[in-house]
Symmetry: C2
Subunit: 192 residues, 2 copies
DNA sequence: GGGGTCATGTAATAGGTTACATGATTCT
DNA sequence: AGAATCATGTAACCTATTACATGACCCC
């Protein structure tokens, strides 16, 4: 187990899952992957076992049950402890209060937009806008379906946030395209 | 040198810097750090030398000059090659056209907002909104200063994008706070 | 004279990913 | 019968970070 596995960014995701219900690691993996499309980052099993081990050592998670079906490998169900729940709340609280510097790939690309030249830049941005539209539509479909299925809004609030982010990016991208087309965003030569 | 150092996410940043002017690695580091507050992620020298070595091997970057001042260690100035410039354009183009799944820390936190309970959630979100306001103000000051100093808008366009993102997040956060306060965002018990 | 910056090179460390190994169950 | 899934455990590998090593120059 890595020494500071507790600093692993997936720790919050694991604690969050265990808040919902006790689980064995393989199930966590399945959950994370099924929601992963828009919620969690990809985790692999190697890291996951390390994290769980570290969480147990920290006392935030404890063995809840051991089950055996037939001759399958015994599966160990883990559950949040009280301390784990407190830690989860502490981390959530901190991550909400203090915005991290979220450096996206797109921000890095935009900072060298000049290198593409006006036509290619406008073209690329247009394609992006289209793809973002599709993404918003997909998010909205999922959200509507969940709400129609009776899931409380609080439990899908992050979808609303994601939609908000993508929407505002679309607006920005489209405004830049327009400015390139009208020439109000000037293109200095040797732009970089 | 790592085998796929060319896949390193900092490659684009290095190519972008070299598009502006030839440089030696130490200077790249200084540039990245000085802009780093809102532009580039932190790079350390170990990785940087690996990247430069890989870029040279790929033919995207070549030794431009070797300079020696007094008895200081000789510094090697690298410059973009034509192939390197093409690669930069190719990567920029792709990164703009195809939006990556940008999973932020905040998105992960929001998805477990329920665990904080309504009061603490509203409180934490309020603090975040305040900090985001400060960040917008700082970005705007920098942007205004750059523009006043004669920098073409195209070269600071990424600051406009960053401001747009933060602004829209503030709007969203404030709307959620309001909904928590008025009770229109219901809080199911045992929320997680 | 001491501390900080300029500038590089390289080895050690530790983390995450990938792959190997095992074996039962279920579906086609 | 073969493939895919369930479920774990562990070792190898590769990458990035960190630290060590070197030495000149500049400012106080």
């Amino acid at each position: 187990m890595p020494r500071n596995a507790l600093e692993n960014p997936h720790v919050l995701a694991v604690l969050g899952l265990l808040l919902e219900q006790p689980m064995h690691p393989y199930q966590m993996l399945a959950e994370l992957r099924s929601r992963g499309e828009d919620r969690a980052a990809a985790v692999n099993r190697g890291s996951l076992y390390n994290i769980v081990e570290a969480l147990v050592a920290a006392g935030w998670v404890a063995v809840h049950d051991r089950q055996r079906e037939g001759n399958r490998p015994e599966r160990t169900i883990y559950a949040l402890t009280t301390a784990g729940r407190e830690e989860l709340v502490r981390r959530l609280d901190a991550q909400i209060r203090i915005p991290a510097r979220e450096l996206t790939e797109f921000l890095g690309a935009v900072s060298h937009l000049g290198a593409l030249g006006p036509d290619r830049a406008a073209d690329a941005l247009t394609e992006r806008a289209g793809r973002l539209q599709e993404r918003v539509a997909a998010h909205e479909r999922n959200l509507a379906q969940a709400l129609a299925g009776g899931v409380p809004r609080l439990f899908v609030i992050e979808a609303e946030y994601a939609i908000n982010c993508v929407r505002s990016e679309i607006t920005w991208v489209e405004s830049v395209i327009e400015e390139i087309r009208t020439g109000s965003l000037a293109w200095p030569t040797a732009a970089g």
